[in-house]
Symmetry: D2
């Protein structure tokens, strides 16, 4: 079964759902999933519709222009169409910690993610053996002090060469430059090891320990120019107690990080994440 997914965004108006569902019905589309949301603050309407392509009367390449002519123009819509016939390409950036890397690669191995991983990139050699055991190319691009630009140029060349669709920072301990980030808007997923907005920045487990919190957490978000401040995709937490050391917190937290990151990747892959301002609509 081949599936099409359309993401629609426009100013809220009466008749949008009717128009879109009529369009799909008129061309013999069998609706699989349909979700909508109106953001009260901005008055924006968001929709995600998935339907079977097999019975659809429009050839793939005609869908968007026909839709634009019939509906999109009238409602002033922004829309994207995704056809599920080729897997998107996801690059993994890592540093020295293996837990998120192992988790993503083992899910990929067992077929949980419909994605291609053209390479894993790191500023250290540490994780090369793991990556290569999974049969995936590993690129070591050191980030020397004061020479981030050089490293990023190399990274960007790699990403372009492989036509990477989105990037996952699986505990990549470098801050990307504003320029880098601006090239992949809402296409870089980071896992931060705290329940944001608490404990922004470095060493959040240490900060959590200092503050004496009773729960710790992890946050997956899209990377923006402001550190740890991008749209949140998913969060979760775990309980800790007074006898837990910082190293306990790290270990307990890693289990949260893994699950939160994998959910964010899954939602992103299924086109279920719609950024709106600095927030996200997630149709799961």
């Amino acid at each position: 079964m081949k599936k099409a997914i359309m993401i629609i965004q426009c100013q809220d108006q009466r008749g949008i759902v009717a128009a879109v569902s009529d369009f799909l019905f008129a061309h013999y589309g069998n609706i699989l999933e349909i979700d909508q949301h109106v953001d009260q603050e901005s008055g924006m309407f968001f929709m995600r519709a998935a339907w079977e392509l097999e019975t659809f009367s429009l050839p793939e390449e005609h869908i968007l222009p026909t839709f634009e002519l019939a509906i999109g123009k009238k409602f002033g819509m922004k829309h994207q169409l995704y056809i599920e016939n080729k897997k998107p390409k996801m690059a993994l950036f890592v540093s020295k910690q293996s837990h998120c890397l192992f988790d993503v690669l083992s899910r990929h191995y067992s077929g949980q993610f419909q994605v291609e991983i053209p390479f894993v990139l790191s500023n250290h050699e540490t994780l090369r053996p793991i990556v290569e055991a999974f049969g995936i190319p590993f690129h070591h691009i050191p980030v020397l002090s004061g020479e981030k630009e050089v490293a990023e140029a190399e990274q960007l060349a790699l990403l372009a060469e492989h036509q990477v669709d989105f990037i996952v920072l699986a505990r990549y301990m470098q801050v990307l430059s504003e320029d880098f980030v601006s090239r992949y808007p809402n296409k870089i997923i980071n896992i931060h090891h705290s329940f944001l907005p608490a404990f922004v920045g470095a060493k959040p487990y240490h900060a959590a320990y200092e503050r004496g919190v009773k729960i710790i957490g992890a946050t997956a978000h899209y990377v923006t120019a402001v550190l740890d401040a991008g749209p949140i995709i998913e969060q979760d937490v775990a309980r800790v107690r007074h006898h837990n050391t910082i190293s306990d917190l790290v270990q307990i937290g890693q289990d949260v990080e893994k699950v939160v990151l994998s959910k964010a990747i899954k939602y992103h892959l299924e086109r279920k994440v719609l950024p709106v301002g600095n927030k996200t609509v997630i149709f799961y």
Copy 2:
């Protein structure tokens, strides 16, 4: 803002969403919420649509016949329409324990539930002072051994007199007869103090203690002829440890019971629970 809610159920077919949203659009209905679900096993389609009545071009009493003629007949739909102008009537059945009673009454007091409570009914006098402090009539109907029929006749008379829409068993420790239950299909909500299907029947906290489980729970479900086996509306759990006594379990569990029961009541009141066979679709 006056709101209409329609619940629709029929065999899944192409064009349902288009037909319903067209109907609402054509009569100037501003859609507030629209959710749908297809049950894969039975092939049944479920939909819940809520819209503003103010701008709607059909008078309330014409909505259902017009819908039936235009769409319902064609698709073989079963549908219900709810107009949010009068509060439904909810009867509370209790025994001796106060925690769920207090919780429901205090939420009602603070305006969290859009519902009328014509009376609270109990097989014991214990909770009368609480109920009367809230200004709600309290009826004591003892259930004598072997005379459940007599008590239920009295209960049914009360329910009929007050035109009660649905019943909440807020830790009512009597099993209702099959006849009683059959008069209120999917209209009796029970809170059971275990994560069903574990620990059906009496004394689930004792059973949980005996089994040595590490989590306990509570389940809100519609009452059917089979004890603790009706469609589940909501469940939640809490962690327990080896040093927790049965009385600890009771206390920890009560907090779960209260939240689970109040969520079930809320979903029911907002017409978000659609029973399908022995399961529920919940559009929250």
Copy 3:
């Protein structure tokens, strides 16, 4: 069964556990609970021991001096002794919101808290009927702009008159002065409606909504001179989604607040909370 509880704190040294358990054993004390913790940063040792008084060979008034002479002096201990024969006195401060008040009062009514509530105090009249329905005196002390000192003087007089042991701010929407707080060190419990340290200060549900978090929470903590920065006693969270309005967040969060606050009160009453710097050791 009458119970004694001793809380001990000193620099960590070899032989403390042996000395304390020997002391209890030598005087025929039957140990019910014994917990200890060493804070790695400060090197401080913390202990809580509970034992039956019935068989204990020392009269109540001799316990502390005997202990001090035999052990306390040698190890340089700070210690407190609590005899469970009289209930502590807890004052409740509230403003207009009823959910925490109802929750605390109904738990007290059903015997869940071993505590006396001499009065409830508010800067508004709103909640008087609820408090009086529970048969508890209600004091209205308005806090006029610029005249907090006047109000606090009146509050302190009331607290002194009733020999209140500790204060619970059950959504009291006023900031207490540094002077007031300094009179009740680690004896004022506040419930803050966010998972601190995120969203300190006013309107945390609005701030959580703005940031687009996927979980919201509540924090019970001891009040210190710095707003929302005191030692955390308990925290918990609940999931929210993009379609939840601020008013949904308030309602979902209130259920978390109630459970978190009641746990904090319970731990405090059972002498299970040991503040250490700005953190807490909790022997639950």
Copy 4:
């Protein structure tokens, strides 16, 4: 730092804590952790004490006999002593599913488990590449219909040859014989993919789907002669909704299985699990 752990079990009596802590103090043991529990039903006392060996005045081989003479005999204690100088040996049994295997091996790889894995054993060839990529020997022992005895003889020989201390069934889909189980009492950890006692036996996710539960779970327990009825070590749950298919349940549940199993292994390795009847005391 070399650590000793002693596990003690006896009828509850006055003076046990004093005697044990005196013993450790008298021989210059620095107590690191000390926990105790009295099971109310059986009146049994349980204790776990961990201390530094470096300063301890007794040579390792004298600890047990000295303790027995000084204390054990008097109180009628059963006790075990563990010296943290050699890693225990853990055998993994798997079938075709990779998620638990990957999770355990990657934790082992990153040093989270202080354990040796002499081999992984399976009734299928499927997972050989994964195991061998981690540099661990893989043994394929097919279990032919009616010939379980043959397979188990081969398994037991392997376990004996490698002096395996305990076995983890990481989704091993065969029921072990009563004879096999009796050779490793409380030394076989199984992960069952439901919140036991709900959904014992095969296909629990299907059963959970059929029943329409709103939470699913996983349970790690010691294997006994009765299927899925042994002492529970750890459990956890995750929420599911009406639109989740059985395959969604499997995927959501797998994340719970992994975390639950790894916690159980950790508690077992740290000698924190004390079985008592069909329950467990867990000193975490």
